[in-house]
């Protein structure tokens, strides 16, 4: 049913159930918003109506109405820019600013802050209401996320994301009135909560109330230490997003520029996590085949996503024998770098500093896990910096990123296949595994299938049947922890039978990771990054992990058999149950 309304005296007809904000947008009428967020495809819609910025005047209504959460009704006459609406909007923003630390110059979100942008948009030149601000303690306890709720505007996006989409439920408002603040259960420090550190709250936070833990200064220190060999490794999703902070169109692939920038920053070696992704496939595909052949526990769940791993440890401690025991790719990289690579380079392992450039904040926590250190020298991975942090480092170093010449990764651990690139988006890991499994199981087929498009897409939970050499593999894919929870509940209750499952904590996978450049509340950004990932894959001549020559060499020279003894020691890990709160 269509509803006839007028907005600023322009007649229009919109479907029943449309909000005033959406209707206005369809007419090209802009209404400023703050708390509102609609990432429709991943079902993340924050329509809580808390900020009261998008207020509009509607004929016959006593009060102003929030356009983001008011649906149209027949004959509605909406005015978006009357004096009353505009002045109310300004006062609301002034109120928010009156309770906000005005330290924009030194703020993490300087020039990238929705509140700042809103104040500029509304032309706020003076804050008429002055009074004390709410003081809260900054929580830097976790290795991943810094909570500074003095900068919080209580938009509740983090809560919606964490509670409804991720079903983790770390945040909830506590206290009343002016003292209201987003809190954790029993006021615990972030490190002591069941937070998975996926960082999706950071992704949607409009201000710097939630930010990543900044590790750049530690990386600078290592780079400037002449005794250290500092090795950078870059995750698949970085190369399709790093151009954004430098003004390149969303979806631009900047692999070569990224390598060049890392060298200019001063990394001794620039290598690729994609190499380790290929290594992961070698191990994971072997493990899958091993489990199928030896009647092991099925389904096998991918374990590359550290947020997802922490989630299952908290939420499904009885299912800890299901995930693959494979370390995540960058951890494998670290383990190999500090053994095999150290030998090759002829340096002591403790001279090597591995820095992972990740689209992810959970990787920062992961790098600190006890079981992921000690076998080599210190931690497998020393530091993790996010895409956003790398962009800051590039700026800090005065590098003109846009005009950089493309460069190639360093040898030994720099080669990668198309299969590893697609790790960066939902469905990619499992597709990479299937590519290799298909080739291995179907030895007689000279041209085994490569593109398993049935595994791709943005649907929250996807199922597909893949037939390889007469064997039917039932595969499921979930991205977003809420979707993962549904799938795991089904598995726990024995309602479904799958062979293999890929789970990524972040909606859309690593391209939408918590450490990626802010997506500007635009789901198209994530889609374009994913498309770029598949383009990168297609551009590769080698697209199956086991065909990576450097990987073959690694096994021949050092590891021996995939899923063998040495591999177990260096490339596999274990999980431990954690409290549900």
């Amino acid at each position: 049913m269509m509803v006839d309304i007028t907005i600023n005296n322009v007649e229009t007809s919109v479907p029943d159930g449309t909000t005033i904000l959406e209707a206005a947008k369809s007419l090209g009428v802009h209404i400023p918003t703050l708390c509102h967020l609609d990432l429709h495809d991943i079902k993340m819609v924050n329509r809580v109506g808390t900020c009261r910025v998008c207020m509009v005047e509607v004929d016959g209504r006593r009060n102003l109405l929030p356009s983001c959460s008011t649906t149209v009704s027949p004959g509605m006459k909406v005015y978006t820019n009357t004096k009353r609406a505009v002045s109310a909007r300004r006062q609301i923003v002034e109120l928010l600013l009156s309770n906000h630390p005005k330290e924009c110059l030194s703020c993490e979100r300087n020039q990238n802050c929705e509140l700042q942008a809103l104040a500029a948009e509304l032309g706020i030149r003076e804050i008429h209401f002055k009074g004390p601000r709410l003081k809260t303690e900054k929580d830097s306890s976790s290795y991943s996320i810094v909570k500074n709720f003095e900068k919080c505007v209580l938009c509740r996006r983090c809560e919606t994301m964490c509670n409804e989409i991720q079903t983790v439920g770390v945040y909830s408002p506590v206290h009343r009135g002016f003292d209201t603040v987003m809190g954790t259960a029993f006021d615990r420090k972030m490190l002591d909560t069941n937070c998975t550190f996926c960082g999706q709250c950071v992704s949607v936070c409009p201000t710097a109330a939630l930010t990543e833990t900044d590790d750049t200064s530690k990386v600078w220190d290592a780079i400037n230490d002449p005794d250290k060999i500092v090795i950078a490794q870059t995750a698949p999703a970085i190369r399709v997003a790093l151009g954004e902070p430098f003004g390149l169109p969303v979806g631009t692939r900047v692999t070569g520029k990224m390598v060049s920038a890392l060298r200019k920053i001063g990394f001794d070696k620039v290598m690729d996590t994609d190499f380790a992704a290929d290594l992961t496939i070698m191990e994971e595909a072997s493990e899958l085949i091993h489990r199928i052949r030896h009647g092991g526990r099925l389904p096998i769940l991918t374990s590359c996503c550290p947020a997802w791993v922490k989630f299952i440890e908290h939420q499904f401690p009885t299912l800890l024998d299901i995930p693959s025991t494979c370390k995540s790719p960058h951890e494998m990289f670290g383990a190999i770098a500090k053994t095999y690579l150290a030998d090759k380079l002829g340096v002591a392992a403790d001279k090597i500093v591995v820095v992972s450039i990740m689209p992810c904040l959970a990787k920062k926590f992961e790098a600190k896990r006890d079981e992921l250190s000690g076998k080599t020298s210190g931690s497998d991975v020393d530091y993790v910096v996010s895409t956003r942090e790398l962009a800051r480092m590039i700026r800090e170093a005065g590098i003109n990123f846009v005009n950089l010449q493309d460069e190639d990764f360093d040898d030994v651990m720099g080669e990668s296949t198309g299969a590893s690139v697609i790790f960066g988006t939902t469905g990619g890991v499992i597709e990479a595994a299937v590519r290799t499994a298909a080739a291995w199981l179907d030895k007689d087929n000279p041209n085994p299938e490569i593109d398993f498009t049935q595994l791709r897409g943005l649907e929250g939970v996807r199922e597909a049947e893949v037939e390889i050499a007469g064997m039917k593999l039932n595969i499921a894919i979930a991205h977003g922890l809420g979707n993962a929870r549904n799938l795991l509940t089904q598995i726990r209750d024995g309602n479904v039978k799958y062979h293999a499952i890929e789970i990524m904590a972040c909606p859309s996978g690593c391209v939408g990771g918590g450490g990626q450049p802010y997506h500007g509340n635009n789901i198209e950004t994530l889609k374009k990054r994913a498309a770029a990932i598949y383009k990168e894959d297609e551009a590769k001549t080698v697209r199956r992990s086991h065909e990576n020559l450097q990987i073959k060499k690694l096994y021949d020279e050092f590891l021996g058999e995939p899923y063998g003894e040495k591999a177990h020691e260096l490339l596999h890990t274990h999980f431990s149950a954690r409290d549900i709160l």
Partner: protein, 486 residues
């Protein structure tokens, strides 16, 4: 008790609330029996609509229409909720009904359940009302024992059960959607409306929610018919309203009068006038959501519309009478302190706006206010009214806006002359001893808690203004009226 007509309170002070037989003897549960045996669901709703009963919790929404919406909503499960989270400062009519006549609320909820097609009722009652809780539970138990609740009531086939849910004292939980969040175990925060509770309520099921006093009218309407009820009150506001009369009035207490009674009748005829023969200044109605009505409007007949026209509202029926000694800026500050503290903090205007309003008011009462501050109060107050998420936030500036409107001079005295005309803003008050009247009796000096009054016996005393804490003890103790305030 003249001029009162007791419908909601008819059994309070008459029956023993802990004995169901008392209630039954007054005709109790006949209304429920009448509804289920001789009326269709639509008959009941029709009766409620024609009676003109409107929600007594504050907003005055027509009860019959609310019931009708819940009746029309399609669902396998519906709820009847009773809002017994009375939280306005100075309002206690709901508590009195629950303590004096719990069955009338229970019976009404069952009637509502029958009308809308619900089989479960929940009373959200403040845990701070232990006696009401106790009597409600006794009433529920006794009624269940007689088969008046539970399965197959009176053999009719209609089943209805009631249980209690305790509120923890957040003011905002008196707002219906916050109340439902609270019952569901969540944080007491309002939801966006629409959807309204009648369609999407408790656990997202259609829910009818009325407050105690509204339900207290229902049994009499069903028993006596809507025509009977219509004879009381005004065209738009039918029936009676209970007011909790408090403040500087002689007969403090609960009064139930027909809608349309004037403030003057309530305060002077029933309330016995102002204490100590002082001058009436203002009546605050509607609690923190209401406003202050000045003397020139004493003869306005009270109903929902007239109070809103005066910048106040019916609210739950608190009525606080103020005399010449009350500072209207101070009163506004009192209510703002309450709302700022009780705001749930969900929306910006209520969370930050009310705090900023309070800070401005505090400045004014401490002599640091400017005329510009008055403009800010007005404009920010209007914005909060325009933009807050729930009814509580939208009405929170009313005490300021109405006092600004009616008592602007008093505000001006505070900001312009740094003077509090009623002498209650301590920072603006000073005490002085008039030499011509002081006899040197030493009473003031002996009673001064900070010993800042000096002077020899039988000689004029002096107050050391630097040390004076402006407590006013000397002023009230001086037997010769030699101390002036100003």
């Amino acid at each position: 008790m003249t001029r009162q007509i007791r419908i909601a309170l008819r059994n309070c002070g008459v029956i023993d609330p802990e004995n169901i037989n008392d209630y039954i003897a007054t005709g109790g549960y006949d209304a429920l029996a009448k509804a289920i045996f001789s009326m269709s669901q639509d008959d009941v709703i029709d009766t409620m609509k024609k009676s003109g009963l409107r929600g007594r919790g504050g907003a005055g929404f027509p009860t019959g229409i609310k019931w009708e919406t819940a009746r029309k909503a399609k669902s396998d499960k519906k709820y009847v909720l009773c809002n017994a989270d009375e939280g306005d400062p100075g309002a206690f009519m709901d508590r009195s009904v629950l303590e004096g006549d719990p069955h009338c609320v229970l019976e009404a909820m069952a009637i509502c359940g029958y009308a809308i097609g619900a089989s479960e009722g929940i009373i959200y009652v403040r845990a701070e009302y232990p006696l009401a809780v106790k009597r409600l539970q006794i009433a529920i138990d006794q009624a269940k024992e007689l088969g008046l609740f539970g399965e197959n009531i009176l053999g009719s086939g209609f089943s209805f059960d009631i249980r209690l849910y305790f509120g923890a004292g957040a003011f905002v939980c008196g707002e219906e959607t916050s109340l439902m969040n609270s019952v569901q175990g969540g944080r007491g925060e309002p939801r966006l409306k629409p959807p309204f509770p009648a369609n999407v309520g408790l656990w997202d099921k259609p829910t009818n929610i009325n407050n105690v006093e509204t339900y207290a009218n229902v049994t009499q309407i069903v028993r006596n018919g809507w025509e009977w009820y219509r004879q009381f009150g005004t065209e738009k506001s039918a029936g009676t309203k209970v007011f909790a009369l408090a403040g500087k009035v002689n007969n403090v207490g609960l009064v139930e009068v027909p809608m349309g009674t004037t403030l003057r009748e309530i305060i002077y005829d029933i309330g016995g006038g102002i204490q100590h023969h002082k001058k009436f200044k203002s009546a605050q109605t509607g609690g923190p959501s209401g406003g202050c009505i000045p003397a020139e409007h004493l003869d306005t007949p009270i109903d929902y519309e007239s109070l809103i026209a005066l910048g106040s509202m019916m609210g739950s029926g608190g009525m606080i009478v103020m005399d010449e000694d009350d500072c209207m800026v101070g009163i506004a500050k009192f209510y703002l302190t309450f709302t700022a503290e009780e705001s749930c903090g969900k929306c910006t205007p209520c969370r930050i706006g009310n705090m900023r309003l309070l800070e401005i008011l505090t400045r004014i009462t401490e002599g640091d206010g400017t005329e510009d501050d008055l403009k800010k109060l007005e404009s920010l107050g209007q914005t909060i009214k325009d933009t807050a998420l729930c009814g509580l936030g939208q009405s929170s500036p009313n005490p300021i806006l109405s006092t600004l409107h009616y008592f602007y001079d008093e505000y001006m005295a505070h900001v312009d002359e740094k003077r509090c005309p009623s002498g209650t803003c301590t920072k603006l008050v000073g005490y002085k001893i008039l030499p011509e009247k002081c006899t040197g009796c030493t009473v003031c000096a002996r009673n001064c808690p900070v010993n800042c009054i000096s002077g020899e016996r039988k000689k004029t005393h002096v107050i050391d203004q630097k040390r004076c804490i402006k407590c006013g003890v000397c002023f009230s103790k001086c037997p010769f009226k030699a101390i002036i305030r100003g």
